[in-house]
Amino acid sequence: MRKLYLRMRSLLLASTSVIIFFILWELAALYLPSPYFPDPYSVLKAFITIITVGDIDGYTLAWHTLMSLERVLLGFVVGSATGVPIGILLGIKPTLKNAVTPIIEPIRFIPPIAWIPLSIVLLIGMYRYIFLIWVGVFFPVLLDTIAGVKRTSITLIQMARTFGADNKKIITKIIFPGSLPEIMNGLRVGLGVGWMCIVAAEMIGGEPVGLGRLILKYANLLQIDTVIVGMITIGLVGLAMNYFILFLEKRLFRWRVEIKA
């Protein structure tokens, strides 16, 4: 009963803050005398138009969203598939990690958007997007995986060795499962960064479809209501992806104190 009460209270609070947000938005639109600050109703109308009719080139919101999702998921898969194994390798081989740190650390601080000009002249179409997403996903996954490996109990590893386990078994049965919570955290952060990268990449990349392109297209036309439609969609999809990974995390790591909390 108390659980239901708490859930209802939380839902009510969330709904109230959303309503207050829309009221403030409406008031701001009313008092800000700019044709480039639309009210919520104009944005709702633009939402309906873009969903049902499509944009000026005929692409619907669903199509823009699916294209962006496809790009980000492909980049995410490549980023994870490289970040996790390399992270484990660097975690278990500190000498190797020390050797590559002078290369990895400076590259890590180059924002994905700075790679765009280079990717335009070196890569084509989807490969360009995959690369840019990879840049966003790889480093958070790599660093969290290394941290996860370091957190693996040395006692467990020594015990496994005492019982005759080889390196392969230690990695697959102890280090990898032990690092999974941190890896999952890296994946969640990486997916968020990747999602932000795709929007920036689409704004410059030249493809006709994608949420980033939708925003730029309508910014060029000074139709800000549709720009906000694109922004809201990006926020909602990002939120949904974040919740999906949190959900997975909760299902996979019920034993973790942090997850229960």
Binding site: P33, S34, P35, Y36, I56, D57, I120, V121, I124, G125, I204, G205, G206, E207, P208, R213, L216, K217, Y218, A219, N220, L221, L222, Q223
Partner: protein, 327 residues
């Protein structure tokens, strides 16, 4: 001792306050010249009049201080223009029309007013002739444009609509279009000169259509001033128009030197500049009919939503300042 420190402190505070007050009231600052802010587009030969004016020192001759701001395309430039970041701009007619339409009725935005003609025609559609041999081959092809809402985007969209062609437009930065074309990502592109001519010389592209073929003698770029600047600084606008007209005269009377200036600005070889020049003309009068045609096309394409076809004439009357330009 203590007393004198207090007195000195009070005198110091009062003096500082007085100085600050006089500074705030503008009594201590010398009468400043207005520094005009001019926007233009990356590597656009349509804006040659501006580059000529800079190269020939016309601004100094007229006692005008200026700052130049470069943008990747007309719509991006106009986003800054309507927010009051620019006083003048060399820009394509459609982005200027759209900016005026979007801000009409609002007194906080800066609306563009045409005070000069930049150039007529001057865009071309270049293609890979192995893939696209004639107009009907454009069907289902990927054609690059320098961005949604640019004059090239409006021209190709209207052309496709009128000829029942299904073209997939790939909007991108003008400087990236030849690269994307060379890499086979797009089958062709429409852009402002000298980019199409560049693709002809450097990437073996062929010119399928010039903008003359799409809309003969059309107005391309215009010189616009912010309505607010026009109202507050009419004498500077007079001088700017004089500078612009002198530059247009220079281009038409000294084409060889004008081409040399174009070469210096774009860093491109003379054959590219020569070809680009063959696709455009520099005129002091605007083609009002073509501006109306652009407005109607933009309304039909859904780019301009708040103006009806019936309002076209009155809209154009406000858009073009007949004190400075004639049709």
């Amino acid at each position: 001792m203590k007393k004198s420190i207090i007195v000195l402190s009070i005198i110091l505070i009062v003096a500082l306050g007085a100085v600050a007050g006089m500074y705030g009231a503008g009594l201590l600052t010398p009468t400043q010249k207005v520094k005009i802010r001019i926007g233009y587009l990356t590597g656009d030969l349509h804006h040659l009049a501006l580059h000529v004016a800079v190269a020939k020192n016309y601004f100094a001759q007229y006692g005008i201080e200026y700052e130049l701001y470069e943008y990747i395309n007309g719509p991006t430039l106009m986003q800054h223009f309507v927010m009051g970041e620019l006083d003048f701009a060399y820009v394509g007619t459609p982005p200027a029309l759209n900016a005026r339409a979007s801000g009409i009725g609002s007194n906080v935005t800066s609306l563009p007013v045409v005070i000069g003609s930049g150039n007529l025609e001057g865009s071309a559609l270049v293609v890979n002739q192995d893939i696209i041999k004639n107009i009907s081959d454009l069907n289902n092809k990927k054609i690059g444009t320098p961005g949604t809402g640019t004059i090239q985007d409006v021209l190709i969209s209207t052309y496709a609509k009128n000829n029942n062609l299904n073209i997939t437009k790939y909007p991108g930065r003008i400087s990236d279009l030849p690269v994307q074309y060379a890499r086979g990502e797009i089958d062709g592109f429409i852009g402002w000169e000298p980019y199409p001519s560049m693709a002809v010389y450097q990437n073996n592209a062929s010119i399928l259509l010039t903008s003359h073929d799409i809309m003969p003698n059309h107005q391309c770029c215009v010189l616009v001033v912010s309505d607010k600047f026009l109202a507050s600084n009419p004498e500077i606008v007079d001088k700017m128009v004089a500078i612009h007209r002198a530059a247009i005269d220079f281009i038409n009377t000294n084409p060889a030197e004008a081409k040399q200036i174009a070469m210096n600005v774009t860093k491109l070889p003379m054959p590219v500049i020569e070809l680009a020049f063959s696709h455009m003309s520099f005129s002091k009068s605007v083609n009002v009919d073509s501006i109306k045609a652009f407005l109607i096309d933009m309304i039909r394409l859904g780019i301009i939503r708040n103006i009806d076809i019936e309002q076209v004439d009155s809209f154009i009357n406000g858009f073009i300042n007949t004190k400075y330009v004639s049709g």
